[in-house]
Symmetry: C2
C-alpha cells in the first residue's frame, strides 16, 4: 500500500481557506512571495520527505542509536537525509533572504516542514531544536555570539540543544545544581550532569551548541539564581574552525520507547575541570531567556504530535479503504462479497475521531504559527501585541492538546487495523510509541495545566484570557446566522460554562489552600482545550460551508462534507465532555488532594 503521508488537499484548505495565508503576501516582508512560491516550497518539502525520509522511516526506528563508549552511531542513512533538508533550504526557510533563507511566513514554514515531520518523525528534531536554539541566541545573545554560533547553525554546519534537566531535579528547575565559575577572560567553567538532552551527541554536524542552565557560584537559590550558557562540543577558533574538544562528555544514551530518530543523552560537563561556557545575556536571568526557546519548543512539540496523529490517520484511512472484511449487519447473506472496512460504522467512528483530533490539533498549531507571524509582521503595534498576547496565552494548550489527543488518535489508527496495526509491517505502532513522549517533554501536561490556570489566565488582569474569549465570540457571531447556527449555540454555551468555571476556581484561591484549588488543573486544561478545539472546528466548518457555496466539483464537495461531518463529530462526541470536567473544577473536588500517600 502506497499511503500518502499527509493529505495535500487538507493542507491547502487549512493554509488558504481557513487561515488565508495568501494575504500575508501583502506584507512588505513577504512581498516577493505568492501562493505559487508558497506551494513550490511545500512541494520541495514533500519531495525531500518522500525521497529521503519515508524510505528509511522503519529503519530509523528499528536501528536505535548506539554508543560504543567513544562515539555515537546512528543509522548511516540519517545524515544524507538531514543534509538533504539543509541543502534544499528547508531547515529554516523562515529566515531572511540575506541570510540564505526563503523569508517565508511561519505558517507556511510549518506547512513546508509538515511532510518532513510526518515522514521523518523524530529525526526532524535535530533541525527544529537547532532552529529554536539559534532563535534564542539571536534574541538574547551578543552580536559576536550571533556571528559565532547562530550563523553556522543557520547554515546547517552546527546543531543545537537545550540542556536543562538534571538527574536529581527533573522538572523542578529550582533545584538544579550544575555550577558555573567565572574565569578571568569572562568565560565560565561549567560543571554538572544533564539528562534527557535530545540531540546531545551525534556526528551529523561539525559542532553541537548546548544551551545549558547552570548556577553561578553564590547565586540565589531557586529559579532566580539560574543563568544560561553556550557550551559547545568543540571550542571554536577565531577563524571559525573547530578547536579542541570541550570538556563535555557523553555519559550514555537512553533507550526510549519511541522517537529513535533523535538521540537522548546523558551529558557530563566538567569531568576534566570544567567545560568552557559563554554567558548569554546577564547572570541570573537564564530561565527567562530559556523560555524563549521553551515556548518555541512547546509549539514544536504540539506540531509534531498533531502531524504524527495526522499521518497515522491517513495511513489507517488508506488501509480501511482497501481492506475487505465482514459485512454490514443488515446483510445476512454469506454469499455476498465482504465490504471494505471503511464501510463499517464503528470503523468510520474511529476514523472520524482521528480526523477530528488530528485536523483539529494541526489547525490549532497552524493558528499558533499565524499568531507568531502576526507578532512579527502585522501592520500595527497594537495588532502585533494582540497576537503576542493570544499566542502566549494559548501556548500551554498548543503544547498539550495535540500531545494528549495525538497518541489517542494513533491508538485508534492501530485499532482500525487490528492485529496488522500492532506489528511493525506498518508504521502506526511506531507513531503510537513516538507520540507518547509528547505529553512529557518540554513541560508535562500537569505543568502546562498549572501554567494555564495559575499563570496565564490571571496574568495582566486576564488580558490573554479575555482576548482568546473575544476571538471565539467573534466566530460565534459569524456562525450564528449561518447553516452552522446550532454549533454556534453549543460553543456559546461552552464559553459561558468556561467563564463560570474560571470565576469559581480562581475565586476560591482567596480562601482555600492553593494546592487544593489547583488540584483539578488538568481537568481545567482539558476543558479549555476542548473549547478551543471546538472553536477551531467551527472555523473549519465555516470555511467548508463557504467552499460548498462556491458549487465545487464533486471531489471538493466530498472534502467539504467530510470537514463538516468531522466538525459535527467533535461537537457531539467531544465538546459535551467539558461539563463533566467543569463540575470537578468548579466544585473544587478534593478527592486527589485529600488522598494521603500512606493510603495508596
Amino acid at each position: 500500500m502506497a499511503a500518502q503521508a499527509l493529505s495535500e488537499r487538507d493542507l491547502a484548505f487549512m493554509l488558504y481557506e481557513l487561515f488565508d495565508a495568501e494575504s500575508l503576501t501583502k506584507r512588505p516582508r513577504y512581498a516577493d512571495h505568492s501562493r505559487e512560491t508558497f506551494d513550490a516550497a511545500i512541494e520541495t518539502g514533500k519531495t525531500v520527505a518522500v525521497k529521503h525520509f519515508l524510505p528509511i522511516r522503519q529503519q530509523v526506528d528499528t536501528n536505535e542509536p548506539t554508543f560504543d563508549g567513544e562515539r555515537v552511531h546512528l543509522l548511516p542513512e540519517i545524515k544524507p537525509a538531514v543534509d538533504a533538508v539543509i541543502e534544499a533550504g528547508l531547515a529554516a526557510p523562515e529566515t531572511d533572504f540575506e541570510d540564505g533563507g526563503m523569508q517565508l511566513p511561519l505558517i507556511v514554514t510549518n506547512a513546508v516542514q509538515a511532510h518532513l515531520w510526518a515522514a521523518a518523525s523524530t529525526t526532524f528534531g535535530y533541525i527544529s531544536l537547532t532552529n529554536a536554539n539559534a532563535n534564542l541566541i539571536e534574541a538574547h545573545g551578543s552580536p559576536e555570539q550571533v556571528e559565532k554560533w547562530v550563523k553556522p547553525m543557520r547554515e546547517g554546519r552546527f546543531m543545537g540543544t537545550m540542556a536543562m534537566t538534571e538527574p536529581g531535579a527533573g522538572s523542578g528547575l529550582a533545584d538544579l545544581t550544575t555550577t558555573a565559575t567565572r574565569e578571568e577572560d569572562g568565560s565560565y567553567r561549567i560543571t554538572g550532569n544533564k539528562i534527557f538532552i535530545s540531540g546531545g551527541d551525534h556526528e551529523l554536524s561539525d559542532n553541537i551548541v548546548h544551551l545549558v542552565l547552570a548556577r553561578v557560584k553564590g547565586a540565589p537559590k531557586g529559579v532566580k539564581g539560574i543563568s544560561l550558557f553556550i557550551v559547545p562540543k568543540f571550542l571554536v577558533n577565531e577563524d571559525g574552525s573547530n578547536g579542541e574538544r570541550n570538556d563535555v562528555a557523553l555519559a550514555g544514551l537512553f533507550h526510549k520507547m519511541g522517537g529513535r530518530g533523535h538521540t537522548s543523552t546523558a551529558l557530563s560537563f566538567g569531568e576534566k575541570g570544567g567545560a568552557v561556557g559563554y554567558l548569554v545575556g546577564e547572570e541570573n536571568r537564564g530561565l527567562m531567556y530559556m523560555f524563549h526557546m521553551m515556548n518555541e519548543a512547546r509549539i514544536m512539540v504540539g506540531t509534531g504530535a498533531a502531524l504524527t496523529a495526522l499521518t497515522g490517520y491517513q495511513y489507517s484511512l488508506d488501509y480501511a479503504r482497501e481492506r475487505p472484511q465482514g459485512r454490514l449487519l443488515a446483510n445476512k447473506d454469506p454469499e455476498s462479497a465482504p465490504i471494505n472496512i471503511v464501510e463499517h460504522p464503528d470503523v468510520r467512528r474511529m476514523l472520524l475521531t482521528q480526523k477530528a483530533y488530528a485536523e483539529g490539533a494541526y489547525a490549532l498549531c497552524l493558528y499558533g504559527s499565524q499568531l507568531a507571524d502576526d507578532e512579527k509582521t502585522a501592520e500595527t503595534e497594537a495588532e502585533r501585541a494582540h497576537a503576542h498576547t493570544l499566542l502566549d496565552f494559548l501556548t500551554p494548550i498548543i503544547k498539550s492538546w495535540p500531545s494528549e489527543y495525538g497518541p489517542q488518535a494513533n491508538s485508534l489508527a492501530i485499532q482500525v487495523m487490528g492485529g496488522h496495526g500492532y506489528i511493525n509491517e506498518h508504521p502506526v505502532e511506531m507513531f503510537y510509541r513516538d507520540n507518547r513522549l509528547n505529553p512529557i517533554h518540554e513541560g508535562t501536561t500537569g505543568i502546562q495545566s498549572l501554567d494555564l490556570l495559575g499563570r496565564k489566565v490571571p496574568m495582566n488582569k486576564f488580558a490573554g484570557y479575555r482576548a482568546v474569549l473575544a476571538e471565539m465570540q467573534q466566530t460565534i457571531e459569524q456562525a450564528r446566522d449561518s447553516e452552522l447556527s446550532l454549533f454556534a449555540g453549543d460553543l456559546q454555551a461552552a464559553l459561558e460554562e468556561l467563564q463560570q468555571t474560571t470565576s469559581a476556581v480562581l475565586g476560591a484561591t482567596a480562601e482555600k489552600n492553593p494546592d487544593l484549588v489547583f488540584s483539578n488543573s488538568v481537568s481545567y486544561l482539558e476543558m479549555f482545550g476542548h473549547v478551543v478545539i471546538a472553536w477551531i472546528w467551527l472555523r473549519q466548518g465555516l470555511a467548508a460551508d463557504a467552499g460548498l457555496q462556491r458549487n465545487p466539483h464533486a471531489e471538493d464537495e466530498h472534502f467539504y462534507r467530510g470537514k463538516l461531518q468531522a466538525m459535527q463529530y467533535f461537537f457531539r462526541s467531544e465538546l459535551p465532555k467539558i461539563y463533566h470536567w467543569s463540575k470537578l473544577v468548579k466544585e473544587i473536588d478534593s478527592t486527589s488532594f485529600d488522598m494521603r500517600p500512606e493510603w495508596f
Copy 2:
C-alpha cells in the same frame, strides 16, 4: 528500586474480604482446602514469579523471538522459567487432584497466577492458552482425544494454540478458506494459511496442539460451515511418543510492538499435500466449540490487561514515593527540601486513576472467576445456571473494560515517572506496549460491543441483562443505609439511565437500519462497563467500610481509607461520563453512520 509487582494486601482483600473465597472450602470439591492452603499456593506463585520471571522481564522484551528459516529461537532463559511454573504445579492448579492438579477454585487459581501474569507478562500466555485449549478438548473432544492430547498438555509436555485468523479474513470468520478433506481413516487433511497464531511455534514443549478452524469441502458458506480440528505439530504414535512432523510449517514471525514473550506466527498448513487433522465433535459446529475456548481466552485477556495495569500502578507508586522533586504551591521557600512527588496533588490524581482502573478491573476479573466456580460447583442447579447466565453476559465487559482502561492506566504510570517512564530502564513503557494488544485480540472492542448490545442483552428474553441488573440492585440496597448511601444513590441513578438507554436503543431496531442503531455500540459498551465497575467499586467500598468497623491497626486503616478514596474517585471522576455516552446511544446519533467513505 525493588518494587513489588503486586500488592499482597490488596490481593488478600479481594479474595477474602470482597469475594469470601474461604467460603468455597465448604463445597465438597474444595473440602481439603483452607485459607492456609490457598495462601500457600499463592505464595508459591509469587516465589516462582520472583525467582524465574522478574529477573528476565526486560530481556524477554528486548530479545524478540527470531526465526532462522528452520527454527524459532527464544531467549534461552524462557524455557527454564516456563518449566518452573509447570514443575511447581502452577500451570493448571485448578485441575483434579487425581490428574495431578491442586483442585483449587478458579478464583484462587486466578490469584495464584496473578504474580506470574504480572511478572511474566506475555510469556505466561504459553501456559494459559494451553489450558484453554485443553479445556475445549476436554469439553467437546472424544475420550481418546482427551487421553491423547489433553493429558500431555496438563502434564506440561505439550502446549496448545487457537488457530482462527486468516490473512484474507481477519475477524470475519465467515470468510475463512482453510479447507479440510476427509480421508478414509476418518482423519482429515488440512490446507490453508493462518496468521497471528500466538505460540504457534517454539521448542518449549515436545509438541504443539493447534486447534484449527477449517471448512470441510462442500460445507455451507459462512459461519455455519466451519469445523474444528486438532492439528498437531508432530503426529503422535500409539505409545504417545512423537511421530513424524506434520505438514504444518512456520511461514514467519510477526514483529509485535509488545508481548514479545509470546511468539506470534504465520502458519502454513498442507504445503506438502495436507496436514493431518482430527475432527473435534461434529462437522460444521466448529465455531460453537471454539467459543468455549474463546470465552475463556476473553476472560484471560481481561485478566492479563488488569494485572498489567496493576503492576504498572504499583511500580509508578513505588517510584513516586521515593522520587523527590519540586514543592507544593503553598510553599514559596526555595531553601526548603523538595518533596516526594507522591505529595503533588496531580501525581496523586494519576495514581488514584490507575488504582481506580486497575483494582476495579482486576476485581471484575476475579468476580468472573468466582462466577466460573459457581457455574461448576455451586450447590444447586439453579445457582449454577444463574452463575452461567451472569458470566456469559459479562464476558464482553470482562474482556474489554480492562483492555481499554488497562493501557490508559499504564500511560499514566509513564506520566507519573516523566522521562524516566519513557525509557527502558523501567518496565512501565513495556507494560504500555504489551497492554495495547488487549483491545485487539480475541475479538476487538468493537466486536465485544456488538456482542453485548446485539446479542447478550436481548438473549433469552433479557435473562442475563436482568440478572446483572438485579445483582447491582442488591448491592445498592445493601449500601443505601450505610456510610456509602450517597454512592448507592449515584449508582441507582446510573442504573436507571442504563435501563432507559437500553430500551431506547433496542426499541429503535424495530424501525431503523440496524447498522445505524448499533453504530454507537462502543459507547453503549463504555457505559455498561463503567456502571459495572462502579458497582464493583461500591462492593469494594462496602468491604472496606466493614474493615474499618473492625477497628483495624493503622496500616490496615490506611489501606481501607485508600480503597474508599479510590471508590470516591471512580464515582466522581468516572461514573458521570456515562451520561455523555448514553445521550449518543439513546438519540441514535448518526454522525458515524452518515459519514461516507468518499468524504474522508
